[in-house]
Each structure stands twice: as C-alpha cells, then as structure tokens.
C-alpha cells in the first residue's frame, strides 16, 4: 500500500499473479470445503458434490493459468474511495435501525459531502426531496413497504 503525498491518494498495487493466486486459493478452499458443506449420496451421478467439484476444480486450474498468462500485468487498486464505501455500509446499518426516511435524509448530506457538492440550497433540497419522492413513489403508488427500522417497529 502506498500513500501518494501529492494528491493524498491511497492505492494498493496488485499484480495479476497476486490476484490469480488469491482466486486460486479461494477456489481451492471451496474444493476442500465441498466434503463438509455438501452432503454425499450413494450414486455418484446424483451426488450433489459432482457438479461443484467439476466447476471449482476448473476454476482453480484456470486461476493458476491466469497467473501464468498475465504475470506481467499490474493494477492500482484505488482505496481513496473508502469514504463512499463507508457511507454505503453506514447507510445500510442506519436503514436497519432508523428506517428509510431518517437514514436517507442523514446519509444524503454525507454522500453529497463526499461528492463535494457545496451549494447549500442544492444539498438541503436533495436531502429532503430524495427520500420524500422515493417514499411517495414506492409506498403510495407502488404499495411497496420501505424499511421502518428496528427502533420504530
């Protein structure tokens, strides 16, 4: 991981060898887990393990082949987006506890701040109108219930 001092960007340099090995590791772990996570039947043809084994072993082999074929490629994984990812997770948690209306109103301020919107009028209008319109469309017109939140249930 490196932090570029000039633009304060946080990036992880990831090679295809690392990416392929991670994928191969995940596939291999799944192959090993098959015997515990998938029951066995007497006939191998109807065994629920047959298809998972075929797919997961193919995945392991292809991932290893991937590391070899694309060994030269490197990618910069931008982690500077963490505020938005954190915001999404917070929105999910807020929605569970406070319901749709309150969490959307609060998180809209946060999201607009992330996207560097500075006009106060736009911020307030968007934060109020978005939950209001979405609520109206989904609950009144489409009759879909939106999360109430554990606090108000």
């Amino acid at each position: 991981m490196k932090i570029n001092g000039l633009d304060k960007r946080i990036t992880i340099s990831l090679s295809n060898i690392q990416a392929g090995l991670i994928l191969a590791g995940l596939f291999l772990a799944a192959v090993i887990l098959v015997q515990w996570c998938v029951p066995v039947t007497r006939s191998y043809l109807t065994s629920p393990q047959l298809y998972p084994y075929v797919v997961l072993i193919s995945g392991t082999i292809l991932s290893l082949l991937f590391t070899y074929v694309f060994k030269r490629n490197r990618y910069e994984l931008d982690l500077t987006i963490w505020p938005l990812v954190l915001g999404s997770v917070l929105y999910y948690l807020c929605m569970m506890f406070f319901g749709f209306l309150i969490s959307t109103f609060i998180l809209m301020f946060y999201f607009l701040f992330c996207w560097k919107i500075k006009n106060k009028k736009i911020i307030i209008l968007t934060a109020i109108l978005t939950p209001a319109i979405v609520y109206l469309v989904f609950t009144v017109f489409l009759r879909v219930s939106l999360p109430l939140g554990r606090l108000f249930r």
Partner: protein, 502 residues
C-alpha cells in the same frame, strides 16, 4: 375475417391504448435507471392486472417488458451503465460513441433497431409459433447442456479482451450459482445453515451491485482523480441518424433479429444471451470488426436487434407449450393463470380471441415504443443530465430501495453492497463482469441439464455427441474457440513481424 375485424375493434379501445402508453413509459423509465430491472418493472405492475381483463393485462405487461428492454440501452449509451443486463452489450459501443459526441446517433440507432427487431419478433411469433416450439421441444438435457456451454463460450469471448479472462469470469459465475439447494436431491450446499441462501444468492441484488454500485465507486474514483465533472451525460444528443445509415446495416439487423427470435424461443436463454450472440456474429461477419468496442453503430444495431428480437419470441414457448422461457415470461405465466387462463396448446383452440388480441397488442406496443422513444429520450436525458455529485447519491438510494423492495429484505441489500465492492475490484483488475452474471444465471440450467443427461445415459459422456443438435453445438463451440485462438496467434505473429521490422 369478420371475426378478426371484431377482435381488432375490441382491442383498439382507449383503455388499452392508455395502458400501453403508461406501461411503455413506466418500463422505459425503470429500464433506463441503472439497478432497476425489467423483471422488477413487470413484477411491480402485476397487482394492477388483477383489475383488468386478460388482453388488457397482457397489453400492460408486454409494453412494460418491451420498453424496459429498450430503456436499458439509454443509460448504457449515456452513462456507460446498462440499465438492464440485456443492454450490457449495447454499452460496449454505445458509450464510446457518446464519448465521441454522437450520443444522439447511438440512441436513435438503438431505438430503430429495437423497434425493427420487435416487429420481426412479433411476426415470428404469429407465423412460426407452433413450428419453433416443436423444434425447441426436441431439446433434451444434452442439447440444453451444449446450448448453455455454447452461450457461455460466446459470452466469455465477446465480453472480454482475452478468452481466458472471459472463461474464468464465467466459472466464477457458475461457482456462485452452486450456493443453493442441489436441483436433484435438494441438499443444501455452501449455505452454512443460513435460510437466506437456501434458494441461492439473490440475482437482482447481485446485478445491481455488480453493475450499478461498482460503477458508482469507479466513477467516484475517477471523480477524485479529475475533480468535478459537470454533466454525467455525454454531449451530442442532437447528432442525427440518417435513414441511409440505418438501412446500411439492414443485413445485420435481420440476422440479429432472427438470432433474438431463435434464442427467445428456447427456454432458459434470455435477452442478454441474444444480445451477446448477435454482437459476436455481427463482429465476426463485419467488414470493419476493428470498430467494434470503439463506437460502432453496427454493434449497437446488432445488440439492440438481438435483445428486442427476444421479446415476442419468448411468448412462443409460453403461449404454445405453457413453458416460461425466463423470469419475465414466468411472471406473465402467473398473470395469465390469475386470469383463469392456463397457457398451452389448448389456449389456441379454446381462447383464440384472446391470443389474437395479444398479437394485436404486441404491434401496438412496438408502435408506442417508437413514438415514446422519440419523445421521451429528450426528457429521460434530462433525468440523467444532472451533476454526478447529485445523481449518484440519488441512484445509490434508488438501488438500495429497489433491492429492498424485491423481497422486503435487508439481506438482499447486504448482498448488493458486497457485490458492488467485488465488482469494483474486478473492474479495476480488467476482469469482465458480464460473463460472471451470465454464468450465474445459466448455472442452474447447466447443472440440471448436465445431471439429467448423465442420469439418462448412466454416466456416459457419449450422450453429448449423440444427436445432430448436440453435434452442431459441439462443432460451433470448437469452431468459435479455434477461431479466437487462431486470431490471437495471428495478431501475435503480426506484432512480432512489426517489431522485427522496426
């Protein structure tokens, strides 16, 4: 004749016309908003059909379906995010064209191609219904297996810059589809005791995560690099598509529409597969294959004709055999059953008036899509032509709510979030996302067909080479892979010659 005229006059009512316009507008808007799928749009209007007669109900559902499929291409072209999986292939050429300032051309090409294929598909339904259904009936488990494998190979090749990456992505999709109950024994696999995943990882949240949420993260990353970009929508919507330009691609349009019709008539394969197959075929036979992926009008024509060609044809197995081909026709099946009609061959003899009424509404929906498409694009563009900083938080909220609304489940929202993060990482690694989704959708069909075929043949693999249909698919798979490998080797050799010359 008198009978048909009386059905026509009974179908051309103000109520049906209003229903078709409202359905088309609704479908187009939902299809255009990334994250909201056509399936969701069709499912949402189901409660409305309780208050309608069978023809009115089908008119509403068909218009939402057709316009929704087309609507997906609007956001695919303007913001590089397919509104529906079926328009993922349209994005490959539509977005580059929009970046060049030719968004108007791309949008019009998508609209005309969609309407053209729609009409072809309607005629196909009327003329070929029984014949195609008979052919599709010949597909046993072995044929279905080979069809799915062929579709996966094609999708892997088309959606990715490299065959290996595409196939690996498909395998990832197939692996994700394993997390569910076993289709033969019903045993739980990789569920770790959770009830939520017994029916598998939910598809729509995964789609929204992989396509919409990951795109928001990517856009945010680009935004932090470049600073604020005022408009999300690429400029140049006023660029005009001349009729001459449209008719230049008539052979591609006809071929792609027919591919769409064929795929639509086969149960299991949907609009996304048809779009990618049509795109691949158009690229293969094009005089300028190098333009594909860089902003080719022919590419857009092929994708849109392919995915809309499916619309009418998916009704072939549904109406003639009572077999819903995909999730949308499954909803329509439910709507017809609610009306007291059991789809199947008997409907044609016992409820002929309803079938003819449905045929007429198919054409009305196509015409309505053309009219609304021309008018609504300007306004739909305005929905999308807002500053990124405002639009993306709103899209984020709609994605959350849309995902929640499917099953009233916060678990679905969690799946969407995780899929968004994984999609972001995959996109950075240049790993194609479309084959993951297609692999995930076709996984259960592949597994069921494969196991059924093996059970029928007592474990012998010979069943996959026993019938002419499976042999044709095997041949096509070998030819397609060989063609791409040969092309790759040729490109490497030419590169080597160029280097040695320098």
């Amino acid at each position: 004749m008198e009978n048909i005229l009386s059905i026509i006059s009974a179908t051309f009512t103000i109520k049906i016309i209003i229903l078709i316009f409202a359905g088309s507008l609704f479908g187009m808007i939902l299809g255009a908003i990334p994250g909201l799928t056509v399936t969701l749009a069709v499912a949402i209007v189901i409660p409305v059909t309780f208050y309608l007669n069978p023809v009115e109900a089908m008119a509403l559902l068909i218009s939402v379906y057709k316009s929704g499929i087309y609507g997906g291409s609007i956001s695919a072209i303007l913001i590089g995010t397919p509104g529906t999986p079926a328009s993922a292939a349209t994005m490959l050429d539509g977005y580059p064209l929009a970046k060049k300032g030719l968004a108007g051309k791309a949008l019009n090409m998508a609209l005309y191609s969609s309407v053209f294929a729609d009409l072809v598909s309607n005629f196909a339904l009327i003329l070929l219904a029984a014949q195609i259904a008979k052919f599709a009936l010949k597909f046993g488990p072995a044929e279905n297996t080979m069809l799915v494998l062929f579709s996966l190979v094609v999708v892997s090749l088309v959606a990715s810059s490299h065959l290996l990456k595409g196939i690996l992505a498909s395998i990832i999709g197939l692996s994700l589809s394993i997390v569910a109950m076993d289709p033969v024994t019903g045993a739980a696999r990789f569920t770790f005791g959770s009830i939520n995943v017994l029916c598998g990882i939910p598809l729509i949240p995964m789609l929204i995560g992989l396509f919409a949420i990951s795109e928001i993260y990517l856009e945010y990353s680009a935004f932090l690099k470049q600073g604020n970009v005022k408009s999300l929508v690429e400029k140049g919507q006023k660029s005009i598509l001349k009729l001459k330009e449209f008719f230049k691609y008539l052979p591609t349009l006809i071929k792609s529409s027919l591919i769409g019709v064929f795929i639509g008539a086969l149960p299991g394969s949907g609009a996304a597969t048809a779009a990618f197959l049509s795109y691949s075929e158009a690229k293969r036979s094009s005089k300028k294959p190098e333009e594909f992926g860089q902003g080719s009008l022919e590419g857009i024509a092929a994708c849109e004709a392919g995915n809309n060609g499916v619309c009418g044809a998916t009704l072939i197995p549904l109406l003639t055999l009572g077999i819903p081909g995909d999730s949308i026709t499954a909803i329509m099946f439910g709507a017809l059953v609610l009306q007291g009609i059991t789809p199947g061959p008997l409907v044609f003899t016992q409820q002929g008036r309803i079938i003819t009424g449905i045929y007429i509404t198919l054409f009305m929906a196509s015409l309505c899509m053309l009219i609304l498409g021309k008018i609504a694009i300007k306004y739909l563009v305005k929905i999308l032509d807002v500053r990124k900083g405002i639009l993306f938080p709103v899209i984020m909220v709609i994605c959350f709510v849309g995902t929640y609304a499917i099953n009233n489940s916060m678990y679905d929202v969690l799946v969407m979030l995780m899929a968004g993060i994984v999609g972001y990482i995959f996109k950075i690694l240049d790993m194609p996302v479309a084959p993951i989704i297609i692999g995930f959708i076709l996984g259960p069909l592949l597994e069921t067909s494969l196991l059924q075929a093996l059970i029928v043949s007592s474990g012998s693999l010979g069943i996959f080479f026993a019938s002419p249909i499976t042999l044709v698919f095997t041949g096509l798979i070998i030819i397609t892979i060989s063609f791409f490998i040969f092309r790759g080797i040729k490109a490497k050799v030419l590169k080597g010659i160029d280097k040695s010359k320098k």
